[in-house]
Amino acid sequence: MNKSILGIRNPRILYSTPIELEKKNLSERGRVVLLVKISADSGVSVSIGEKVKTGRKIGYTENRYIFSTITGEVKKISRIEWLNGINYHAVQIERTGDDEWETVFVPSDENPAKSREEILTLLESAGYPVNYFKSERFDRFIINCTEEDVLTSNIQATILEKKDLFTEAVNLAGKLANSEVIVVVQTGFENKIREIYKGEIRSIKPVYPSGMNEILPRALNLEGNIGIIRADLLINMLQTLKTGLPVFERIVTLIGEGNKPLKNILVRIGAPVSEILNKENFEVDSGYKIILGGAMRGRTVFDGDFPVQKNASGIMVQGKKDVVDLTPQPCLNCGECVKVCPQNLQVNMLTRYSEFSIFDRCKELNIADCIECGMCAYVCTSHKPIVQYLQFAKKQLSIIEASKKEISNDK
């Protein structure tokens, strides 16, 4: 990565520039596994053996609908546990033939001058998160065209792929948010975006993690209530409004051994990772790492059957040589983590407090402001899994808070 020989400048990682998009339909045959989060208000509305079309409602959780992303037959409904301990119904659908479409609502391309409320209702019925648009008042609204993670370039590839929709999508965002819209890109991408969009564009240095939703408004010196949305989600919303179909496919970046981005590919949401990798002729052996997402924030999977999620940015395979050695040694207090933290947190102290379960101190040191960008663990001299320690402390604090609430409710 971008590591200077001299160490005066802080270590930094740059975002990728877009790479080639391969338009091969990967799920000509095959299956998808769709996850329905199990909660107090959730359910699966299909049964085994049922034939479903692409776009068919198969379940719901907390007022959000989940739709089938291929046309086929429901083979299996099971329960799986995802990595963070959340349980899901896994609905496995096997493709039987070409896509047949089942729209959520009848699209009305002829009548674009719909009111804001109507658009929000339509989007909600197609499973999009629109409650923020309903409840919040924005001073500014940012369309974030930077990448979610390093090594991935799926967001920019999506924008380039859906060039003709971009301006319309920005207008849609303005209408939904009811405020001024700013398009933010990383330096180097401005020229390409200027060809397709004529409004206000701001650029940021392509240094991770400055493009993260949490801190991007600060990088632009904005104040007040700032809404922010990734460009890919916005384009999906527009497409749904135009076609009446829920989102069923996504562009993700394939990253191969040697941490090398290979290409962007179009995959069906819910396609198992192992199937995608098989079709791309990947070699994965024991001792390898399969990562859903990018290099800094992706999650490893223990089973290739895990499906691609609808916010996935990439699929990454690390060979034995690429796997980072995480044998933690004692913290030297060298201060590298404090130097790189974008939130100015006292990472050295937070890690120790978390390690020794002193969670109230973590709270005093504002652990809630951690955005889990991973820069601290990236530079750690002692190879400590710092992000994991911080996540652990956050989780424990939330459990403590919840139990406190329960006690006060009992009284």
Binding site: E214, E283, G335
Partner: protein
Amino acid sequence: MINNRNLIMSPAPHLHIGASIAGLMKTYLIALLPLIIFAVYGYGWHAVRVIALSASSAMLWELLIQKLFRRKVTIYDGTAMISGIIFAMLLPASAPWWLVITGTFIAMLIGKHIFGGNGAHPFNPVLIAWAAVSISWKSQMDLGTAMVNYDKSFPVDFPLTVLKKAGAEGLGIFNIDVQGMWSGKLSLFLGNQIGGLGTTAGFLIIIAGLFLILRGKISWRIPSFFILGVFFTALLFRIVNPETYADPVFHILTGSVLFGAVFLATDCASSPVNKTAMALFGLGCGIFTVLFRAWSIYPDAVPFAILIMNILNPLLDKIHPKIPGNNVNVIKVES
């Protein structure tokens, strides 16, 4: 072919910059190398004896202590070796073998492993050892008398002992009169003075410090503010009484001010990590150095000054920057 079995699970991030404790210690070793060569050039086999004995005995003590405490053995990462070398740099070339071995034992046991080993020590272990041996065996550690039998092209008196005994007027033997002549100071800067093995050659220490700063291993703040602290405090004394107190540049060039600023005060575990705190830490070290030199019985008290500031380190680190962006309320629309 996808083999689904035995995949590696790990938390994010999945990249690493490649830094390690062993790498850090290698950089320190490279920085110390010119000083070692200069010491060997100046004192020959005497220097080789002290440095080699100190480094090897420190590693051996660490091995023994870790075996005894049933801890993971970490002598491979080089921290014990670097501690040993830095300790040797503070000793006179005439230091007897038992003094070196006792010193490294104190450094490893009382300085480091009693507190939990690497990174857990509140004081710089080398300084604990230095303080213990220099209080216990004054005559062997007294730089003013330890080296009188050496034949050198420069005066074999420790400049700071001369200053202590005769005041600024007595510095004539180093070509420094009360007005402060530059030729004598240049000679001191080039290492023509009595001192610890590695603490005399100012120009080499500055090069080593710049190397460490450019490699990003130490912050520029602690060494710079250390030297600034020495300069301004010494200047105050000088203005009040130029006959007794030497000028600031003399203070910086003699004893272990430069060595302490680069190698001792910047010890990771016992120095702060925040910018303001680092500046205050360095400044405090500098101020205490001159105060001790002026008013204590020790001619060169850099290690004591740093030890005092080590105590204040956790307090200083409470001064940390605020979390930015309090005036922004970010509402993320995410699926």
